[in-house]
Amino acid sequence: MTPLVDVENLKVVFHGDRGRTTHAVESVSFDLAPGVTLGLVGESGCGKSVTALAIMGLLPKGSAEVSGRVDFDGNNLLDLTDAAMRDLRGDRLAMIFQEPMTSLNPAYTIGEQIGETLVRHRGLTRTQARTRAIELLRDVRIPSPEQRVDEYPHKLSGGMRQRAMVAMALACDPQLLIADEPTTALDVTIQAQVLDLLRSLKAKTNAAIVLISHDMGVIAEICDEVAVMYAGEIVEHAPVDVLFESPQHPYTIGLLASIPRLDRRVETLATIEGSLPDMSAVPQACRFAPRCPFRSEICVSRSPPIVDIGTRHWSRCVKAPLERIVA
């Protein structure tokens, strides 16, 4: 199947005060077929949200320098004009943000906000848009949508607001949906409901989804493929089963190991020692090497190669496949 989205060598550099530059995203490449959900996982500051914003063309033009290619249906999104991007966003490209309270406009009703995209992109009248908004709210399982449609965001609970966000994103049947930590601000029982909803929507639409999360549990529940990011780079890419069964990058292994398990108790939890490298001066070497228990001379002397492990599975580690270490 030809990919719907093909991201190649995406690079984002932020120019800050006093000539300071931060390399937030470095040579990120992945492709995505329709109907496939890719999980982008990593810890704070690894560049996962910046990657999403770069794809959507939402980074500030003045301070962020974006290079590489984002092929979407034959066009490089990075070359498009602002006006052309505005036509795509909300229509064929959609995004769900983490904090539904700050991403919904408090001065407009839920119905108006969902309807806005339909009026803008589909040329519906306000009345038609309102009717469609009610259907969309019903699709995301909001109870009594006929009333909710005329309410303001503050009247809704966190879980409901996030559903309204999902309804808004789905209004025009997008081909690419980026969900940036869509359940992180929610309580666990509400998170379970929203994940359930996303799963059923995934089955219904044929959209390609990029799900950004720091939670390996959420990734395991929803995604088909996973890209693990560390310090601006994708360090491992794999089908979801393979990633959890046989991860091939030390960082992935460390992440999986540090999640406390529910079914047993250990004396000492696994940790990844040290902290993230300074993103304004990253050395030409493996970025994870200072924290890696498997590192050797070669890891700090040159950039690691991309090692192919299997079908759609690769790792940015010179020692991969890692089984050799313990074999």
Binding site: M216, G254, D278
Partner: protein, 373 residues
């Protein structure tokens, strides 16, 4: 083991709206008759979702908020009768660590000043020796004593939480209330701080009241767990018992809602319907009944009492004996042996006693360059 802290019938309501004449129009029953016992040297975890009252309980225990009813005994002394002077002395024995290390540390004070402040306030160490004591405390929490000269913004989240812990430890307390101490931290940093807290507890014979919404964290650190829902404890039991055998429908729903890092896991799901009701007008009877699949008429009318069995497993549910048995709620496949061996490389070998833990933490601190500035 003796009880360090006993709480009975703890109640606190907040008035959220008043008439122009000051008459309360709406009240939130944030904590509605909570009983707790914490044994000396153990960790009691309070778990629940946003707005269940767990943080309010933590603050009430320390009298940072005054309760409206109930009794709190700390080593048998009734702290609600304490006057100002006694309360101040009590602060030396019980401390709190907050969730957000970005807002709980004064950005204008150096780390050294932050940690020395409680030493000076309680006149614990003579001024001449304070600097040494600060250095000791910093190395105790795994930070390089040289960091004392820096300001909080120069540290990463995990390091700031270590500073907050050092500050709490400065007065040599017996009890620390940890209010979501690792919720703001990334996974890999989170486990570092959890290991630190566990090591310190052993080494300094501390008692924790550990407040969290994250069951996997609780599983790791707690000896006993109390599950709260809308101001009440719905279930409490020794941690292993609760995880093996959750009885209350809410506890079961909490467990089954945790996403487990294992694709296609075939767990039984017990999803709750709807949202948490507004605490302004909680449902009658059992607070859970509108969301509970097993609710009957009685649940709507009568508040279930928290009844304990002989093993100390208490459940506030009219019907828990009739509920179907649940299995495999927390089961996870073990990782393959090779993966397990690779993972074990990330585990620091448990040292001989906690001194080793502190020592290794210390040596680690010296090469830990702050990640963000």
């Amino acid at each position: 083991m003796s009880a360090l802290l006993e709480v009975e019938g703890l109640t606190r309501h907040f008035v959220t709206r008043r008439s122009p004449f000051g008459r309360p129009l709406a009240t939130v029953k944030a904590v509605d008759g909570v009983d707790l016992t914490v044994q000396a040297g153990s960790t009691l975890a309070l778990v629940g979702e946003t707005g269940c009252g767990k943080s309010t309980v933590g603050r009430l225990i320390l009298r940072l908020i005054e309760p409206m009813a109930g009794d709190i005994r700390f080593e048998g002394r009734r702290i609600l009768t304490f006057g100002e002077k006694q309360l101040r002395a009590f602060r030396r024995e019980a401390q709190i660590v907050f969730q957000d290390p970005y807002s709980s540390l004064n950005p204008r004070m150096r780390v050294e000043e932050l940690i020395a402040e409680p030493l000076a306030l309680h006149n614990i160490v003579p001024a001449s020796r304070r600097r040494d004591r600060v250095a000791e405390l910093l190395s105790l929490v795994g930070l390089d004593p040289r960091y004392g000269q820096r300001y909080p913004h120069e540290f990463s989240g995990g390091q700031r939480q270590r500073i907050a812990i050092a500050r709490a430890l400065a007065v040599e307390p017996k009890l620390i209330v940890c209010d979501e101490p690792v919720s703001a931290l990334d996974v890999s940093i989170r486990s570092q701080v959890l290991n630190l807290l566990a090591g310190l507890r052993k080494r300094l014979a501390l008692t924790y009241v550990f407040i969290s919404h994250d069951l996997s964290v609780i599983k790791h650190i707690a000896d006993r767990v109390a599950v709260m829902y809308l101001g009440r404890i719905v279930e409490t039991a020794p941690a292993d018992e609760l995880f093996a055998n959750p009885r209350h429908p809410y506890t079961r729903a909490l467990f089954s809602a945790i996403p487990i890092p294992q694709p296609h896991s075939r767990r039984q799901r017990q999803l709750l319907e709807g949202d948490v009701p507004s605490p302004l007008s909680p449902p009658t009877g059992c607070h859970l009944h509108p969301r509970c699949a097993y609710a009957i008429e009685r649940c709507r009318l009568e508040r279930p009492a928290l009844v304990a069995d002989q093993n100390g497993h208490a459940t506030a549910c009219h019907r828990w004996r009739e509920l179907p048995a649940l299995s495999g709620l927390n089961e996870q496949e073990a990782p393959g042996s090779r993966l397990e061996r690779l993972m074990s490389e990330f585990t620091r070998k448990p040292g001989v006693g906690a001194t080793a833990v502190a020592a290794t933490l210390n040596s680690r601190g010296s090469n830990g360059v702050p990640e963000r500035r």
